[in-house]
């Protein structure tokens, strides 16, 4: 077997007659962060459940740290950190008690106090779980996943329900994990999260992989898709710049859309220079991961 942290080959997951995952393959190399993006019901969590050893795949192969998540469960678990979306924490226990309990399962747990401080949970150490807010429960859940010093962590929508500050702390923590050589497989709805954290993004749609690549690769394919020029108002290029589309969005602000490569941009600027315009500002915008994601998943969202 290879030395990859996670290797998924043609995995199929079925619930009765419904097929949630239709043959997905992906690889998380050691020390890398892979983000699974997709709508609710795209199959992200089902795929994660198979990797986490909660259920067996109905087809295909999965190796996690070179082991089978079901058959080698007891050998694998001490090396994994798993953050579930919800549930499964003693409602009557305090945050501190819960984290200490999970720490006691690990051979060399992280310092519980340090984690409580890092995740801003110190104030809630003596608060019972059921009294914590959604975001606080989420932070505790993350702490539970990390307390055993895992080699590989599975994070299912780690920042859902968190406030901005907690989200940024979480992102920093994930970046630190990566710096320490920990491999991460996370699911998210948040494009900025994927763009900031992930070495590689896998976009899932209807149980299939719709696109895969680094955030840069996914967005670079489309290149620059908008050029904004500020000059004197009332300049009308007519069809001189066709097939590009030029609109004056407000007096003196021009938006140019179309296939914008270096030559066409030079042509656009040449035209403005030709009519003696004073160009005071120039902006280009490349496609964001969000644009790519929406284009890929739009058809499904409104079906």
């Amino acid at each position: 077997m290879t030395d990859d942290a996670v290797q998924v080959r043609d995995v199929v997951v079925r619930y009765g007659d419904t097929t949630a995952v239709h043959g997905v393959s992906l690889t998380v190399p050691r020390g890398r962060v892979l983000s699974l993006l997709g709508h609710n019901g795209a199959g992200k969590t089902s795929l994660l459940q198979v990797c986490e050893g909660f259920r067996r795949a109905d087809g295909g192969q999965v190796r996690v740290l070179g082991l089978d998540p079901m058959d080698d469960h007891d050998e694998l678990m001490p090396r994994l950190g798993i953050m579930l979306q919800s549930g499964g924490v003693y409602p009557w226990a305090t945050a501190g008690e819960i984290l200490r309990l999970f720490a006691s399962f690990a051979a060399q747990p992280l310092d519980v106090d340090m984690l409580l401080d890092r995740l801003g949970l110190r104030r809630f150490e003596r608060t019972r779980f059921r009294r914590l807010s959604g975001g606080e429960q989420q932070r505790l859940s993350l702490a539970i996943a990390l307390v055993g010093r895992p080699e590989l962590v599975f994070l299912d929508e780690p920042t859902a329900g968190m406030d901005t500050e907690a989200r940024h702390t979480t992102w920093e923590l994930i970046e630190e994990l990566r710096a320490d050589g920990v491999s991460v497989l996370l699911t998210t709805h948040l494009l900025d999260e994927a763009e900031r954290l992930a070495d590689e993004v896998v976009i899932m749609r209807n149980g299939l992989v719709a696109a895969t690549g680094t955030p840069a690769e996914l967005t670079a394919a489309a290149g620059i898709d908008l050029l904004e020029v500020r000059a004197e108002p009332g300049l009308v290029p007519g069809d001189r710049l066709s097939p590009l589309k030029v609109t004056e969005t407000s007096p003196g602000e021009y938006a140019v859309t179309g296939a914008l490569d270096a030559a066409t941009i030079a042509e656009v600027l040449g035209w403005f220079a030709g009519v003696g315009a004073t160009v005071t500002s120039l902006n280009t915008r490349r496609r964001t991961l969000e644009d790519v994601y929406l284009a890929l998943t739009k058809a499904e969202a409104y079906r």
Binding site: Y15, E52, G53, F54, R55, H73, D74, M77, P78, L80, I82, L84, S86, G87, G88, V89, Y90, P91, W92, A93, E97, I98, R100, L101, F102, S104, F105, A106, A107, R128, I144, G148
Partner: protein
């Protein structure tokens, strides 16, 4: 980290959890004691030929109910709840093994059962003047208690597998508990009032033997005349409970699931 250590840290949290959930404390714990007070008071002035009051007989038999409540019901409902709310699933994603999970639950069950028995014996001794037995009877009590708790816990775990929703667990688990108590003579005294075929049915299940054993421990020897067989049958008690222990273990191994979905 060893299975035992993990089991103990979980047992600690289990006990904490139980004590903080007041409803659970009252219903599991105080209910058998309340029934004992009621039965003992209602039938308190009836005496057997041997001069033993009915309330003493209830005090002894009711220990079987106490253990059913703390072991069978607590274990069954607790497991169904852990399975439903995802606790089991989350624990399955940690280094904990099934054995240490069950060990944690058993610690809770043992702690509760010991406390329950102390409560019931206390009520029997202080309220109904039940005399406490000598050392040799306490020895019998020890193995009987251990065997009863383990058997009831294992059967509770096994039954939790067929409970679909934790909400209904209490109701479902209490059906066999209440039915078996009536036919096993925990609430009926003397047992021989029951039709003999019903006693034969009860003899298949562990509750009759538990109650009979606790009557041996806490009642004078002459009371054996009131038993269906006219004797205490300690060997048979051990045999039947031991057999149910094995049956329970096999059922648990066959039906144990970490989560509801499958």
């Amino acid at each position: 980290m060893s299975t035992a250590t993990m089991g103990f840290s979980r047992g600690h949290v289990e006990v904490l959890m139980f004590l903080r959930d007041r409803t659970a404390v009252i219903f599991t714990f105080a209910f058998p004691a309340m029934l004992l007070l009621l039965f003992g008071t209602i039938f308190g002035d009836q005496y057997t030929d041997a001069g033993v009051s009915a309330s003493n007989v209830f005090s002894a038999s009711m220990i079987a109910y106490g253990i059913l409540s703390t072991a069978f019901v607590t274990m069954g409902a607790g497991l169904a709840m852990d399975r439903e709310d995802g606790t089991l699933k989350r624990l399955h994603g940690t280094p904990i093994t099934a054995t240490s999970y069950v060990l944690g639950k058993l610690i809770l069950v043992f702690a509760l059962s010991v406390a329950e028995v102390i409560l019931l014996v206390g009520v029997g001794a202080l309220v109904f003047d039940m005399p406490l037995p000598d050392a040799s009877h306490w020895l019998t009590f020890t193995w009987l208690f251990l065997l009863s708790v383990i058997t009831c816990s294992l059967l509770g775990m096994a039954v939790s597998g067929i409970v679909k929703h934790a909400r209904t667990a209490g109701a479902i688990l209490n059906v066999p508990v209440v039915a078996l108590q009536f036919i096993s003579g925990v609430f009926i005294y003397p047992v021989t009032q029951l039709p003999s075929w019903l006693i034969n049915v009860a003899a298949i299940f562990p509750v009759k033997w538990m109650a009979q054993g606790f009557r041996y421990v806490f009642l004078p020897d002459v009371m054996k005349d009131q038993e269906p067989a006219g004797q205490w049958e300690l060997g048979r008690i051990a045999l039947v409970l031991g057999a149910w222990c094995v049956i329970g273990l096999v059922l648990c191994l066959l039906t144990f699931r970490w989560s509801r979905d499958k």
